[in-house]
């Protein structure tokens, strides 16, 4: 909690304020992200957690303005305060603004879940990294290659110079993800957005990549927005966490607050449904029902039809509840927080 109050004093690297992202569908316009506010302090790892369709990726894509039709940012501001250079509102930039191109892969870069789709299959790894370098830095081809080799060595690729001439298909999944990380970090970004960076990898390789990312993050003091559904990865990587459900943040706090003293019934349900490594063979607690579609968001608290603590006439009335301070010292969007304190 001490960490939380300290951050308020300095300007955070990124501030997302009341973001709403809509998609036009056959069933009308749906809000995939609705009223999300989130700050990312410099040099910290912020986890964005939730199940498929909760809007975690859409939130992250909005930061780089990667939302494509039929989607659009309808409301909200995303302000970036880089260490060097002027603050900017990403949402105010034009689609073809030069500043946007400089931003992508420059101050803010991104790594994706599936390294094979992030890499071009018909260009060598060297060419792809050099392209990323020369888009943002005025260096000669030879200098870019030297930088590329240096970066590949830093992400733990043996025989880096030889690897430059290889194509992605000649590499294993873990090696490819290292290449993608090298490419994302070669421009020394202040913010790295990592969308499920280890989900496609085997556990022993996942452990290697997590270790690598933490190491590089400390060394370069990059802030990371880590999108994941794996609470184990969150526990081991993140400083702060925001939990999303149906396009809204339902709980946020430090990693210890969220995982040790979860307040929102949804977060509690998620944690309880993990088959714990210590629990016996009894029945797993599960969350009733399934995530409703975005075109049928329930009234009141969107989680109320699945909530074990649902109270008629309270939880199903009005609009979705806002985040408010919880008894545990962080924030949760639940009307019955005080009543839940004693509940398991």
């Amino acid at each position: 909690m001490a960490g939380m109050t300290q951050q308020v004093k300095e300007t955070p690297l990124l501030e997302i304020e009341d973001l709403q992202v809509c998609f036009d569908t056959e069933d009308g316009t749906v809000a995939a992200v609705d009223g999300v506010s989130l700050t990312i302090p410099r040099g910290r790892i912020v986890g964005l957690v939730g199940e498929s369709g909760c809007g975690k990726s859409v939130t992250a894509y909005s930061i780089l303005r990667l939302i494509q039709k039929p989607g659009r940012i309808r409301r909200g501001r995303i302000r970036l305060h880089p260490l060097h250079g002027d603050a900017m509102d990403v949402t105010a930039l034009g689609e073809k603004d030069d500043a946007l191109y400089r931003l992508r892969g420059g101050r803010v870069s991104m790594i994706f879940q599936e390294p094979m789709t992030a890499l071009s299959p018909v260009h060598t790894v060297g060419n792809q990294i050099c392209e990323a370098i020369r888009l943002h830095q005025e260096v000669t081809r030879a200098a870019a290659e030297r930088l590329a080799v240096e970066m590949l060595e830093r992400v733990g690729i043996p025989g880096a110079a030889g690897r430059l001439r290889q194509y992605p298909f000649e590499m294993s999944g873990g090696m490819r993800q290292r290449v993608v990380i090298a490419m994302a970090l070669v421009g020394r970004p202040e913010l790295l957005i990592a969308d499920e960076p280890t989900t496609a990898l085997d556990v022993t390789i996942q452990a290697q990549i997590m270790d690598l990312m933490r190491g590089l993050q400390r060394e370069m003091n990059t802030a990371i927005l880590l999108i994941t559904h794996d609470l184990g990865v969150v526990a081991q990587m993140c400083d702060d966490v925001a939990v999303m459900y149906l396009g809204r943040i339902v709980e946020r706090g430090t990693v210890r607050q969220i995982l040790k003293t979860p307040q929102h019934p949804y977060t509690r349900g998620l944690l309880a449904s993990l088959p714990s490594l210590s629990r016996g063979r009894s029945e797993l607690p599960s969350i009733e029902g399934s995530v409703p579609s975005l075109s049928e968001i329930p009234s009141g608290c969107p989680f109320h039809p699945r909530c074990p603590h649902y109270q008629a006439d309270t939880c199903d009335r009005g609009g979705p509840p806002d985040l408010r301070p919880s008894p545990a010292g962080h924030e949760a969007a639940c009307l019955r927080l005080e009543g839940l304190e004693a509940a398991p």
Binding site: Q236, P275, I287
Partner: protein
């Protein structure tokens, strides 16, 4: 509560020396076999009636191929697969087409991806009832009743029967897949990563359903997965595969508390714990072995922190270690 049944009784399934090699051809004027990918190599285990055996390993370890070869969804290269059936034991690996078809009612499969494993142009009723139609076991009213009863058993409503798969969520689709597998009253099920494509909250529902059905119907599962926490929750015994071979097989709690093989240890240590107070997972270096290009000796030796000259030269054999545990390592932990 399911009590782990050890092989005191006759096993329902005995797999011995199961191999599946895929030939790799080099392109040329004369297509010549150059080498074999040993996807599954000398796999042996027993599964007792009512037991759940977990098969875990990383991608390319051969766990899915093993499951498919047992059901003869692919033809095994060598080995026997004995399935108890009406007082006798039939070798699935060598049965003729006709006998095999008869035996299919005894063994079924649940697939990983509930999106690609259901035909989008068939209704739920047709999907779930199709096995009965193919085997001419029911038609008309009887068929409808059996499908309805099965849907209810897996937690779906009878009015769901006329809908198409696209109208269901991932968890519900997996229930449809389970209903299709169970409609024939099989004794033995291969569940290939049945919950890995599902969200955590739904995963728990499907795991609970599988356990409930096992209790009610006395099912025997071969549960293939890479998620070790799910495996620990559901399995009585676990076999760990690496590069096509079983490297360790042991009762679940024994395996988790005192793993004997260095690879099992590394695999367990790599799982990130959802408790922020537990330290970062240990890192083992190197990459998963390529079954098409295996190192000499023990396949794990290039990554093993305890490898010696013996490991680099001789391929180890699976040896019993006591407590129902078998290990393929010359220097196992005790």
């Amino acid at each position: 509560m399911i009590t782990p049944r050890q092989s005191v009784t006759e096993p329902l399934l005995s797999v011995r020396g199961l191999c599946k090699y895929f030939p790799v051809h080099r392109q040329g004027l004369l297509r010549r076999k150059t080498r074999y990918v040993r996807a599954v190599d000398d796999v042996s285990f027993d599964v007792a009636p009512g037991e759940t055996l977990g098969l875990v390993g990383e991608s390319g370890s051969g766990k899915t191929t093993t499951g498919r070869a047992i059901l003869r969804a692919i033809e095994p290269t060598r080995g026997t697969v004995l399935l108890a059936h009406g007082g006798e034991r039939l070798d699935v690996a060598t049965l003729g087409r006709k006998e095999l078809k008869g035996l299919r009612t005894r063994m079924q499969m649940i697939f990983q991806d509930p999106f690609s494993s259901l035909n989008p142009r068939m209704t739920v009723e047709d999907i779930v009832g199709e096995p009965l139609v193919i085997h001419r076991l029911a038609k008309g009213r009887v068929l409808r009743d059996r499908v309805g009863a099965m849907l209810e058993k897996v937690g779906l409503k009878p009015e769901h029967r006329s809908r198409y798969p696209h109208a269901f969520s991932g968890g519900q689709r997996q229930r449809i897949g389970i209903a299709r597998a169970l409609i024939m009253n099989p004794a033995f099920l291969v569940a290939d990563e049945p919950v890995s494509a599902l969200d955590v909250s739904v995963q728990a529902q499907v795991v609970n359903l599988l356990q409930k059905l096992q209790r009610e119907l006395g099912l025997t599962y071969l549960f293939i997965a890479h998620d070790l926490s799910v495996v620990r929750h559901i399995c009585d015994r676990i076999a760990v595969m690496y590069a096509g071979k079983i490297v360790e097989i042991a009762p679940t709690e024994k395996l988790f508390n005192r793993p004997c093989h260095p690879y099992t240890r590394a695999l367990l240590a790599s799982v990130p714990n959802p408790d922020p107070d537990v330290a970062m997972p240990e890192v083992i270096h190197g990459e998963v072995a390529d079954p098409g290009n295996l190192p000499a000796g023990c396949s794990f030796h290039p990554r093993c922190p305890h490898a010696t000259d013996v490991c680099r030269q001789e391929a180890p054999v699976l040896r019993p270690m006591g407590e129902g545990c078998q290990v393929r390592c010359p220097h196992p932990f005790d």
